[in-house]
């Protein structure tokens, strides 16, 4: 039951919630002409979400593996770094400093090589430096994209 709950029922409930919110918003906002299309789509979306929810409750839903607790534990640190990097660090620290840090932290965390040997740390630093140099060359020098500078660069 618990696997079915997290595999099918929770996602179906969340999607139903989204469809309801969209429908309520579409039908309460003005001007009506601008919301004609959203209204049309939200009705179809709501019907489909109810159908999907019923299938989940009745145990008819077959597709989808869900995310197991073990997988969740493995991805959590990575997703956390991703969120901090994108929503906070990139703008505050500057794109290149934040990118370098995120790359190094993620690479080191998920790297299979020894975390005690000096040689593997040297490799991590070298790979990070080379990759960021390529990124700098491509975006800053070649394409002249101006990235947020933040505190550093």
């Amino acid at each position: 039951m618990s696997t079915r709950l997290q595999q099918h029922i929770i996602p179906a409930t969340l999607v139903l919630g989204l469809a309801l919110t969209v429908a309520v918003l579409s039908f309460t906002r003005e001007p009506a002409e601008s919301f004609l299309f959203p209204r049309l789509i939200s009705v179809v979306m709501l019907l489909l979400a109810i159908w999907n929810f019923l299938r989940a409750i009745l145990g008819l839903a077959k597709v989808g593996t869900g995310v197991s607790a073990a997988t969740f534990k493995t991805i959590a640190p990575g997703v956390l770094v991703m969120v901090v990097y994108c929503f906070y660090a990139a703008k505050t620290l500057g794109f290149y400093v934040a990118g370098t840090t995120a790359f190094f932290v993620l690479y080191s965390w998920y790297d299979a090589h020894s975390h005690k040997a000096l040689s593997s740390w040297v490799r991590r630093i070298v790979v990070t430096a080379v990759f960021m140099a390529v990124i700098y060359g491509l975006f800053s020098l070649l394409l002249k994209v101006q990235t947020p500078r933040g505190m550093f660069l």
């Binding site: 299309f37 959203p38 789509i41 999907n52 991703m82 990097y85 994108c86 998920y110 790297d111 975006f139």
Partner: protein, 496 residues
Amino acid sequence: MEFLQYFGGVFEPMAFLLLVGGTIGGLILGATPGLSPTMAVALLIPFTFQLTPVHGLILLGAAYTSTVAGGAVSAILLKIPGAPANIATALDGFEMAKKGEGAKALHVSFLASGIGGVIGVLLLIFLTPVLAEWALAFGPSHLFWMAILGVTVIGSLDSKSFVKGLLSGCIGLWLSMIGYDDIQGAERFIFHDALTGGIHIIAALIGIFAIPQVIEMFSKGRQSADVQVVTIQKQSFADSLKILFARKKALCIGTVTGSIIGLIPGVGGQIAGLLAYDQAKKFSADRDTFGTGNPTGVIAAESANNAMVGPSLVPLLTLSIPGSPTAAVLLGGLLIHGIFPGPDLFTNHPQVAWTFINSMLIGQILMVIFGLYIAGYAARVARIPPAIMAAAVLVLAVFGSYSVQQSMGDVYVMVSLGIGMYFLEKSGFSAAPLVLGLILGPIAEANFIQGSMIANATDGATQYFLTGTLNLFLIVLVILSIGYSFWSSRSSKVAS
């Protein structure tokens, strides 16, 4: 045969150097997640200031041709389409790569692109006056029905679950409505300032495809360094050719669909690949193997998205109407050099016009040669450990989505959609219908509203949307497509 006189221009040292450079650069830019053809061409315009008009156009044309094909590389190896045009390529291409057939997928993809592309440019050379008439035949009501035809594909695009496929499409359609309504200017569903400009398709594409792949690589944890993202078996060129020519039907469907869609201003090449993929699937005897690594899918999608390149320039070169965002950027590039496209372009500036078109023809062939060469190196890309790959794709995704409009908001949208998509995919929803909804929503809505406004001033909506040969033809296609989806989902249920 006037164009033959101007072939010499392509092979002048400077012109040929630019052509080769533009092709290789385009392949690399196209393969970089986040750099779409439109962006690559826009970013290259400043370089053309220093060049003569002919040379500038050769560079832009070569980049346009090869970025479209280059997008297939990341679609196949990483399941990250470089541009909307390559979404359909990822569906079977990545499955092939997972089976170790990455090199095979890349080979057929470049060969199909080349063949589709050459035919597209030949259409541009020989049939421009006829095709221009065609391009103008599509008014708002027809474009609306075209978009609806695209929507009907949504249900059958996802082979796993009919309801979840449709629901994914609806979520995509809803996401496309976020931001200022383009015609009336009203605010819709703006929960955060980053959403005022709406969801940019490229930022969404990066998030929806790249981020779930990154998280997927995280989920492997600290595995031994020998574990590769994908393994790549050696693939002989002759065998790839054999595979391609055993699937002539898919190649034809792709090329024809791509050429027609490319011609219609306002639809653009974004959906050519997906529609061709869907058609090839419907007409295929082994349609159940689509989505599990069938090369036919890759061939249909890639021949379509390169066949679209030539015809998409027809309205631009003859009528000065840019039919797609990339064509609009090319128009800017022409105007900067004082060249007005129009019917007399070929009489006033034959040198420029024909050299440009010829260079696209040669560019297609160069693209295949360099593409096949790159496919050989793809094995090395695949040997990169998941930890490095995940970190690299994430950093590229952030830089790529930021560069689209130099906006932090796009980065927030990209990563939020990406994390959401990871969990949605785990619950059986799929990315391709969602993106299709995101692309088609604005086309359907804008043309419906514009059509209704015209209809109100003339004969009324019924008359405007439901009469006329082209409208009726498209409506019949829509009905056939819906009927087919129901029939096939039923028959597959009976079979199981």
